[in-house]
């Protein structure tokens, strides 16, 4: 249980943002925390879509239930948050 800084590159937004998450957060929870800073601010909701987390540099899509501590992230790692069907 520790604070972990990541950078959120949210789909359809114009800027990358600093988002503090927790090492015990699942990727779904990370996506939710990132969504708070983009959805309904500069990005419209997409009902029926799921938010998925992708490693920005490597392009790997993380499983939804993977924890931050298991993902091999460096502090301030940039993550893409994407609207996907599943």
């Amino acid at each position: 249980m520790a604070l972990f800084p990541i950078h959120s590159n949210f789909e359809r937004d114009f800027v990358i943002q600093l988002v503090p998450v927790d090492t015990e957060d699942t990727m779904d929870e990370v996506a939710e925390k990132c969504a708070h800073h983009s959805i309904d601010r500069r990005v419209r909701r997409q009902p029926g879509k799921v938010l998925r987390v992708r490693h920005h540099e490597k392009g790997t899509l993380f499983p939804r239930d993977m924890k931050v501590s298991e993902a091999g992230l460096r502090p301030t790692e940039t993550l893409d948050i994407l609207f996907m069907d599943e």
């Binding site: 950078h7 359809r12 114009f14 800027v15 990358i16 943002q17 600093l18 920005h56 502090p75 301030t76």
Partner: protein
């Protein structure tokens, strides 16, 4: 006794080199300060500046210029233009003075370095006048806005900005410290006078002067065009340095200095001049778009100068051209969204009429930038202004010190150019920004950008209030929408007209 013609004595007074007896040449002109790069004193004497001026000519001309600029100001003071100017235009002035005034004074120090340490006598001569020019520019751009401090504390930022850790001030200091405060005399002539001044300042001082005249701001128009006449002279110091370097096989080194300086300068203009020209300047006063001004001054004129000198276009030129359609729109949206963190009041500049203009100048604007602004407009119309303000920090580039942005909406392409160096993860807003770092990592690696400082606990409390305090922004200074959101009315009107 008849006086000699200037042409008969000028070259004699200009030849001020001598062979030192009491100290070595290296002590008089240390390489770290002179940047002679192995080229002899004698060879530096071939440096030939295109504009030559004598001291009597200088003082006569400058006195006339100052009389002109100061008397226009005095005459128009009673007109109180500032009180009836469009708020977007007022913000333009406040942003300009804060970003520029102390940089001008700093430039006089950089000119002084050339005046003392350039091995080329012509460079030393002209730099004395350049030093006085920049001193003038610092003073006049503090004196003019000072008349307005009674109107708002934001006008005080003409002096205050560079003394704070406001993020824009950090970005500006980073640029100028890199380009002119910490370079040798030859480096200053190339990075400051050639790349920054010849390349870019015409945008801010002449392009903007044209808009100012259209907006009815004759004090400002006369001031900045007067300043630019000095610039046209002292900016000529870089070209002759480049000629000497190229003649002695130093093209690669010269090119690299130019490439770094141009990209870093571009980034400052994208956040300052871009929003001013395309969003703050009242629609009817916009002579040209930012992109059109850039294409006229940078591409048409500066590119030609580079080729004429025997240099190449910077390796990233295609990316630069592409970025002219994008970066400043992102900087504007970012500055507006994070408006409490700047010392001026950003004008949104996105009424339906303005968006038509933007679409005309930047086809696809509504499909991309417009998508983001639509959400903001909805929030303002639906009583959710809290969603039009930030709850976190944007990711900041470790070179330019401004946010990492890209195209949103249907053209989404935002990218972080990362680099791991000696165990630390750096983030850059573009490939050229990352390249600048890689050219000389020792030079840049220790710098902490705003995010680094936040994560290191330097900003306390670690929230918006702590951030504003860290940046020196008090109530009455932090930015808000220039028009008090009254522009949203135009959307309601457009909906009603359509219905």
């Amino acid at each position: 006794m008849a006086l000699m013609q200037r042409e008969e004595w000028y070259d004699l007074t200009r030849a001020t080199n001598w062979t030192p007896d009491y100290v070595g040449e290296d002590e008089l002109f240390p390489e770290e300060m002179s940047g002679a790069r192995g080229i002899s004193m004698e060879d530096w004497e071939s440096y030939d500046e295109p504009y030559k001026v004598t001291y009597p000519e200088y003082v006569t001309t400058q006195r006339e210029k100052d009389s002109g600029a100061y008397s226009v100001k005095a005459a128009l003071e009673r007109d109180a233009f500032v009180d009836r100017a469009d708020p977007g235009w007022v913000s333009t002035m406040i942003a300009h003075y804060g970003a520029i005034a102390l940089a001008e004074y700093a430039a006089s120090i950089a000119e002084a370095r050339m005046a003392r340490f350039a091995k080329a006598p012509g460079n030393r001569n002209m730099a004395v006048f350049g030093m006085m020019d920049e001193n003038r520019h610092g003073q006049i751009q503090l004196f003019f806005p000072h008349a307005n401090v009674k109107r708002s504390r934001q006008w005080d930022w003409a002096h205050k900005a560079y003394h704070t850790n406001e993020w824009g001030a950090i970005a500006a200091r980073s640029l100028f410290d890199d380009m002119m405060m910490t370079r040798d005399a030859v480096g200053v002539s190339i990075m400051l006078t050639f790349a920054f001044e010849t390349g870019f300042t015409n945008m801010q001082f002449l392009g903007l002067a044209a808009d100012a005249a259209e907006a009815g701001d004759h004090t400002f128009a006369s001031l900045i065009s007067s300043i630019q006449t000095d610039e046209s002279r002292h900016a000529q110091q870089g070209g002759p340095s480049l000629k000497v370097l190229l003649e002695h096989g130093k093209k690669e080194e010269a090119q690299q200095m130019i490439d770094v300086a141009i990209w870093r300068s571009w980034k400052l203009f994208s956040v300052l001049t871009g929003p001013i020209m395309d969003y703050y300047t009242p629609l009817e006063a916009r002579k040209q778009s930012f992109k059109e001004f850039m294409q006229e001054w940078i591409i048409a004129q500066f590119e030609r100068q580079l080729i004429d000198l025997g240099l190449d276009k910077p390796w990233y030129w295609d990316e630069f051209m592409r970025a002219l359609d994008e970066t400043h729109h992102g900087m504007h949206l970012g500055v507006w969204y994070w408006r409490p963190t700047v010392w001026w009041n950003p004008a949104a500049g996105v009424t339906p009429a303005e968006r038509e203009w933007l679409e005309e100048k930047y086809p696809g604007w509504n499909d991309t930038w417009g998508q983001a602004w639509d959400v903001i407009v909805d929030n303002l119309q639906n009583g959710k202004p809290e969603l039009t303000g930030p709850e976190t920090l944007p990711t900041i580039c470790n070179m330019s010190n401004i946010p990492i942005v890209g195209t949103p909406g249907n053209g989404w392409n935002v990218k972080d150019y990362q680099l791991e160096h000696e165990g630390r993860l750096y983030h850059f807003g573009s490939e050229p920004d990352r390249w600048c770092f890689q050219v000389d990592p020792e030079r840049y690696k220790k710098h902490m950008n705003f995010i680094d400082r936040f994560l290191a606990g330097e900003i306390q409390p670690p929230d918006l209030m702590g951030g504003l305090a860290y940046m020196g922004l008090a109530p009455g200074e932090m930015g808000d929408d220039a028009h008090g959101y009254s522009w949203v009315e135009a959307y309601r009107q457009a909906t009603e007209n359509a219905a």
